[in-house]
Symmetry: C2
């Protein structure tokens, strides 16, 4: 029996090396030397995908045979809406694969067969992976651990590899388009791309296919990184003992008073799409409209980011007013969310600080110098505040639970005031976990006093339960990790308002993040065009920074969108 820790390290190291080998191949391809070609990279990725396919097949067959024993499930991993979203992204990926196959058929004569095999295998891989996500992502694996660990980690890193490959192709394609644009404006000499095939296309709509491909790239990229995050949670869950989980209160989304957030958010989204279209049209025209477009982008960004900062701060202030303890129970998928949020911010932060330095240090004085400075500083601040807001939202104990408790109390109080008959009517709320009334004797006077005289009732939950002595062991462990004193705030009048405001904030930030994802995903990247940072850092270093920061930024925005949706449901 190999220990768990070793299995983790053994498989983790295998995964890292798989990814690094792939990255080394990508570096080789990006040099455009004569020894490493794209076909080598693609055949490696195809092999890796095939291995994942085999493993998934083995896993599913094995699970089906053991149908009588129901496997344990982690209810936090892969929520329904996340899987739904991924299915849509997977469909778009499939369309992309179809386009790829079409392009291959067109240029069949001068392309390596690998470029035809790759999209076919990718289709298979996508379809079976989506099946796997729907039916097995919540599984907590207990048997055959080391072998299954290797399988899961292989799947994680296969998806990461596909993400890296997508991000690299995308940024290379963008860079070439950018160079062509500069050449057309007369700034530089540019002779031909590396990735164009050297023969005529056999079918008619070839160029349409290869152009549309690049509009589908962003979806494919997001699909792979999200799947790899979900699989990583599955990997962390292997061999885990799931703690006693209290079921979450289902509570219908109340859409009333959900007005300001969506409206402002939709305005932001509409504005962004307008900006996107204008930018892409204007940036290729004369030098004057080029500069206009850049200024416009930054001004729009400043307004949006400022609004987002205000919304986030407001949310944090509301949380401070309502001091609720954090939920410290173990939850790998939330833990990962937190780390990914902070980790993927690093890219934008580095880019922003470079822009700040460039704006301050530049010797030339372009008109958008101070706009860039303000934009970059706001970008840093916005991510700082937004991360705090999201993480605090995810870690707070659920409003629903406490509210249910409050409602119980309310009913109880009304009963008391109206002189209702049964003395012990309201005690022992059906679903609240903080069972106040089981502690105090069911005597009118005491209950009344407890609810009217003090603002916060401090329920020393643990000690009372332990005193009772009938606590199951499995939940004891969990309870010991919780803070011992639980203040239950009781200002019922302010609660629904506050909750509505938080929901409005969440939906507003959700739409804003969608907008900020759209811009770079569809080619609006003035960081390449403004020239300010290139002057200070040089073309090579600045391109390197952007190639590092852009994919992370895209991932950050998408991840925020997913997290904010969860926040919206959670509040």
């Amino acid at each position: 029996d190999y220990p768990k820790k070793n299995g983790e390290i053994l498989s983790g190291q295998y995964g890292i090396n798989l990814l690094l080998f792939g990255i080394a191949l990508m570096l080789g391809v990006s040099y455009h030397g004569y020894s490493i070609k794209e076909k080598h990279l693609l055949s490696f990725i195809t092999t890796v995908m095939l291995i994942q396919l085999l493993w998934m097949l083995w896993y599913v067959v094995r699970r089906d045979r053991q149908k009588n024993s129901v496997p344990e499930k982690d209810s936090h991993a892969g929520t329904r809406w996340l899987r739904g979203g991924l299915t849509i992204l997977a469909l778009l990926s499939l369309i992309m694969d179809a386009f790829r196959i079409a392009v291959y058929v067109g240029y069949k004569e001068c392309l390596s067969p690998t470029l035809g095999v790759y999209p076919v295998v990718h289709v298979l891989h996508t379809v079976s992976q989506v099946y796997f996500l729907w039916f097995h992502i919540k599984d907590v694996i207990k048997t055959c651990q080391t072998f299954e660990r290797f399988g899961v980690i292989h799947a994680v890193f296969t998806n990461l590899l596909l993400w890296c490959n997508g991000a690299m192709s995308e940024s290379q394609h963008f860079l070439e388009a950018h160079k062509k644009r500069l050449a057309s404006l007369g700034f530089i000499n540019y002779t031909g791309g590396h990735d164009e095939p050297h023969c005529e296309c056999a079918i008619s709509s070839c160029s349409m296919f290869s152009k549309s491909l690049y509009y589908l790239y962003p979806f494919n990229i997001e699909y792979h990184i999200f799947v790899s995050a979900m699989l990583f949670v599955m990997w962390k869950n292997i061999g885990r003992i799931i703690e006693h989980q209290h079921k979450r209160e289902k509570d219908g989304l109340r859409v009333t008073r959900l007005v300001l957030g969506p409206i402002l958010g939709l305005v932001a989204l509409a504005g962004t799409i307008t900006i996107l279209v204008i930018y892409i049209m204007q940036v290729e025209e004369s030098l004057e409209t080029h500069r206009m477009a850049i200024s416009m982008f930054y001004c729009h960004g400043i307004v949006m980011l400022a609004c987002m900062c205000i919304a986030g701060t407001l949310g944090l202030i509301l949380y401070r007013l309502d001091n609720r303890p954090l939920d410290a129970s173990k939850n790998p998928s939330r833990q990962l969310d937190t780390e990914l949020l902070c980790g993927s911010s690093v890219g934008t932060w580095l880019m922003s600080w470079c822009s700040v330095i460039a704006a301050v240090a530049t010797h030339s004085n372009p008109r958008y110098r101070w706009t860039i400075l303000a934009y970059s500083l706001l970008l840093v601040l916005e991510k700082y505040i937004q991360n705090l807001f999201i993480i605090e939202s995810l870690y707070r104990q659920q409003e629903a639970v406490v509210e249910a408790e409050d409602q119980d109390k309310e009913e109880e109080e009304e009963e008391e005031e109206g002189g209702g008959g049964g003395g012990g009517g309201g005690e022992g709320g059906p679903s609240g976990i903080f069972s106040v009334s089981s502690q105090v004797p069911s005597c009118r006077g005491i209950v009344n006093q407890a609810f009217t005289n003090q603002e916060n009732v401090y329920v020393s939950l643990n000690s009372s339960r332990l005193r009772n002595g009938n606590v199951p062991l499995c939940s004891l462990n969990q309870e010991l990790q919780e803070p011992p004193v639980v203040p239950v705030s009781q200002d019922r009048a302010g609660k629904p308002d506050r909750r509505q405001i938080l929901r409005n904030i969440a939906i507003f930030l959700f739409l804003c993040n969608c907008s900020l994802w759209l811009l770079p995903a569809f080619g609006c990247r003035p960081q390449y065009d403004n020239g300010l940072e290139q002057e200070t850092f040089g073309f090579t270093i600045w391109t390197m920074v952007l190639n590092f920061a852009m994919p992370l930024n895209l991932f950050y925005r998408m991840h925020c969108v997913a997290s904010l949706f969860e926040v919206f449901q959670h509040v």
Copy 2:
């Protein structure tokens, strides 16, 4: 009262941004443009160091005032020998600062005053930081948490910044030396460095000082990264509730039979130093000796790495033979060690995979092609095995504790066999945590049977303690995390031998890692010279990979040295 989680995120994000701003400045400096100069970077770092100094002063003064309340200490953080090692590195850093000041005095006329202020502040910083490490690194901070969190994280990232700066200067200096060498061999044209001052030196031994500087760089770099890891553990400890810790058995190092490991290790070390000297002498001479030197380096590397792989595998096999449960108690400094070990391996792994690809894909056929392939694969394998070995060693329950238990049993058994008087004499071993005999009644027959008839005694520790009912709550939580069934292996005859072998392995790997640190730290980096990877990846990409991998590799080796020393003491 601001929640702990928020304090963590708030301060963590601040630290990351501090570092990223510094890195952005470094990127600006490395471009050698006209807007960002070294003096800007150094004044930023100086400011950051001064802020850390102020914070440390505030902290120390505040602690001194509260002298009556003894702060809690984390006994795992910053062991005595680690602090001792760091003090030596700090002394070497001080010498380096002295050299820097001397160089500044020499070139005073044409250098910015910042270059004189920086080493002075660095001296102050080093001295006070070493004081802080000796007297406060183990503190578990409980009061004023958010403010002190910011202070500690500021210190962590200040040191990381100093590490980055050191690593960057070092690799830039190396690259320039390399270009000069290539120019002297007639390969390229090279005109002057960027970092040389433009005036005559006023004092006589100027060039001696500035040349010696670069031999001291490696120590300074290691100093800062180690300090930042130690401070990070302090940061993780803020607000932590230290669990009940069982004191470790002090056990004098037995030097008997500690022969083979040290001898082989010293042979490796001596061989390495010889190789280092020959390499540095030969690589600057003719093309023929240049190639000779490279071949020699790789052959030497293959032999060493193969021996290390064998030693590591042997260690792992020994661990498998003696199946002991892992120690799952919480220990942030061990957790960090594990993550750093795997994290810093990434650099070398990427480099190795690039070399593998280059060796396979190259069209030219240099004589050391297959040597490089073998070397790179062995490098990947060696880190893989070594990480497994070190992590398993750190996580295993201590041999000393179990051995003490064994000795108790031995004594007990002898007593029984010799017909000793007192019936309950040996029961309830004084220091063992697995108190077997308290479970069985103190009756001769049963005790004898339990020791003679079975190979492994399974002690269900937790259940028995819980049955007794008198367990303190704080330790209950810890015990629940431990595996419920503890097999205590009893082959007493084999144990000392196995332990000696493991010690020999640890000391051998320790010396080998020292050797492998020495080579790149003092300029023996054939990855720049062999030309194979440059052909496949191009100069820019390959230099980028090396600039990323080299500092991580140096850190990895030093970190391994520290970890293996701990393993040596632990076994």
